[in-house]
């Protein structure tokens, strides 16, 4: 039950009322390196296609689609069985998404997030620096040099997966996750980075704190970013951090 929509988008069955749109780089380009076929692909181009497909679906569909989950290289489409079925939806998606391809270079918004990088707010900075054979200052400057892309939102409300960090500061998750990662923690896992929207358990390596709410149910919009946006961090001082409403949690402010 695979439907090829075009060279880069495949439509597959996910469940009783769910379809999966799978995105790849151009299949023709890939055929030469088919050995790499199974390796997961994270690329800004694919993510851009996902972003555009979401816009097209939102424009062309109304109540027959219940919700969408865009991610790195896929979109889960959950539909209303009272209004449509797999067959009809498949045909309509095929027609709507034919026009979706990497040719469009319209980018998501650029969102700048303040970051208080320091040894007191970034409890894992020294470990990352040691592992990367860099200084703490170099780790900080590499983290804020990169423009990241919001590849996916999930795990917890407001948790945005940003990628990709400079290879030199990539760092595996902690073997034993912390029981409490503070709200606002800016952290690295492999080549991904994120801001914890709320205090939660987690195994990512903390490099700093962000004073901006990544999720606020009362605010509109509830999140400063959406999938497809670009994110850049800029360093702020401790007093700026506190002025912007940031809180230093007890467990990371060990020098206070």
């Amino acid at each position: 039950m695979t439907t090829n929509i075009n060279d880069t988008i495949r439509l597959e069955v996910a469940g009783e009322n769910a379809l999966m749109l799978c995105f790849t780089s151009n299949i023709k380009c890939l055929s030469e390196q088919s050995i790499l076929e199974d390796s997961p692909e994270i690329s800004p181009n694919i993510s851009n296609d996902v972003y555009h497909a979401v816009q097209l679906i939102r424009t062309h569909f109304t109540t027959e689609i219940i919700d969408l989950i865009p991610s790195y290289a896929s979109i889960l489409v959950v539909f209303n069985l009272l209004e449509t079925d797999h067959h009809r939806l498949r045909n309509k998606l095929k027609a709507v998404l034919k026009q979706c391809n990497s040719a469009s270079d319209k980018q998501g918004r650029l969102v700048e997030l303040p970051a208080y990088y320091s040894l007191e707010s970034g409890v894992d900075l020294e470990r990352i620096a040691k592992h990367a054979k860099l200084t703490v200052e170099q780790v900080i400057s590499l983290h804020q040099a990169q423009e990241y892309r919001v590849y996916a939102i999930g795990f917890a409300p407001g948790f945005a997966y940003l990628g990709e960090v400079d290879e030199r500061i990539a760092m595996a998750r902690l073997t034993t996750p912390r029981l409490k990662v503070p709200k606002g923690a800016i952290a690295i896992a492999d080549r991904q980075t994120a801001v914890y929207p709320a205090q939660s358990p987690g195994g990512w390596n903390i490099v700093g704190l962000c004073p901006i709410d990544m999720f606020n149910a009362q605010a509109k919009p509830s999140m400063p970013v959406e999938v497809g946006d670009r994110v850049k961090f800029f360093a702020i001082t401790k007093s700026e951090f506190l002025e912007l409403g940031g809180h230093l949690p007890k467990q990371v402010s060990k020098n206070d």
Partner: protein, 322 residues
């Protein structure tokens, strides 16, 4: 609109193990990472609302295992459906699957169920709870919905509407006994194979569909982790992607996990397929030690089952009791 803070309704005198405010669920907020929540057993949920003459999406209490006690502050009509929890009103046994008139001052008590897991307690007009992201459903893991984003606690007041006329003049209804769902310690899960099935060999698939699994100690509204014959995928993980209701994940240890209402919206384990919604509801009425089997069905069979189930629900007539 009435002031929710001062409104009267049902007051919680004992919250039980896990009692949650639920409506039909939260849809349209996946982009924020919010999951669906909603009733683990939608069929019992819809019946509770129909018995009270409500809109089907009205807010109810989902009670897991039992132990909930409420005191009515005003006259109201309630209906309890689902697992056979012993229901008493002022100590006198009352029936499930029917609407019951409750007077101000009455105590409603639900004991623990020997079978099944979840009950739904609806009230005429629905509980008046402020929705968040379009729904009142509680997802504890997200601290979203319900009263404080969590389970019910002692002294919570769930505001209800005033009855349109004296309660003893209102008609009471019941669901015919032959239409009441029966719960058991075994359930067959009809499953649609999904596209990652290619990562499971035909032998692995045959083992999966011919083995019996037991529900492990990890069973909750997020998902049910099963124990039994391990199934191997030819990949350890995939690029994180959206997860639908009923998806069957196979992690590295090969023990299947069926994902339900409160699942995380994205994840990176390979999936063999997805259990159809009406069987997810049956699974959520099972607990640790209960047995499940999977049966593969085609998409068109799944579609037929969905519509048959729906038309059975809409065509079943309630009986007037008074």
């Amino acid at each position: 609109m009435t002031d929710i803070n001062n409104a009267l309704g049902l007051k919680v005198t004992s919250a039980g193990v896990l009692s949650l405010i639920q409506d039909a669920g939260r849809y349209g907020a996946f982009n924020l990472g919010l999951t669906n929540g909603g009733p683990a057993d939608p069929l019992a949920f819809y019946w509770a609302n129909r018995l009270c003459g409500n809109e089907l999406n009205s807010t109810v209490i989902e009670i897991s295992l039992g132990g909930l006690e409420l005191t009515a502050q005003i006259d109201c009509v309630i209906a309890v459906t689902g697992a056979p929890m012993p229901l008493t009103i002022n100590g006198r046994t009352a029936e499930l699957w029917r609407s019951v008139f409750v007077k101000a001052g009455d105590t409603i008590h639900l004991g623990f169920t020997p079978l099944g897991v979840r009950c739904y307690l609806a009230v005429t007009g629905g509980f008046n709870i402020k929705p968040i992201f379009g729904s009142t459903s509680t997802v504890c893991r997200e601290s979203i919905g319900g009263i404080r984003g969590g389970k019910l606690e002692e002294n919570d007041v769930l505001p209800c509407q005033l009855l349109p006329k004296p309660g003893n003049q209102l008609k009471q209804f019941m669901l015919p006994e032959q239409e009441q769902p029966k719960y058991s310690h075994e359930v067959l899960l009809h499953t649609v194979l999904s596209y990652q099935q290619q990562h499971f060999s035909s032998i692995e698939k045959r083992l999966f569909f011919s083995s019996e699994y037991q529900i492990s100690k990890h069973w909750d509204r997020m998902g049910y982790r099963l124990q039994g014959r391990a199934i191997k995928a030819d990949i350890a993980g995939i690029l994180s992607e959206g997860i639908c209701y009923g998806a069957v994940q196979i992690p590295a240890d090969g023990q299947p996990i069926v994902l339900l209402n409160d699942r995380q919206t994205i994840g990176g384990y390979p999936k063999i397929g997805a259990v159809i919604s009406q069987d997810c509801a049956k699974l959520s009425q099972c607990r640790q030690g209960d047995n499940v089997r999977f049966e593969s069905i085609s998409l068109s069979q799944a579609d037929n089952l969905f519509h048959l189930n729906l038309s059975r629900f809409t065509q079943t007539q309630l009986i007037t009791c008074n």
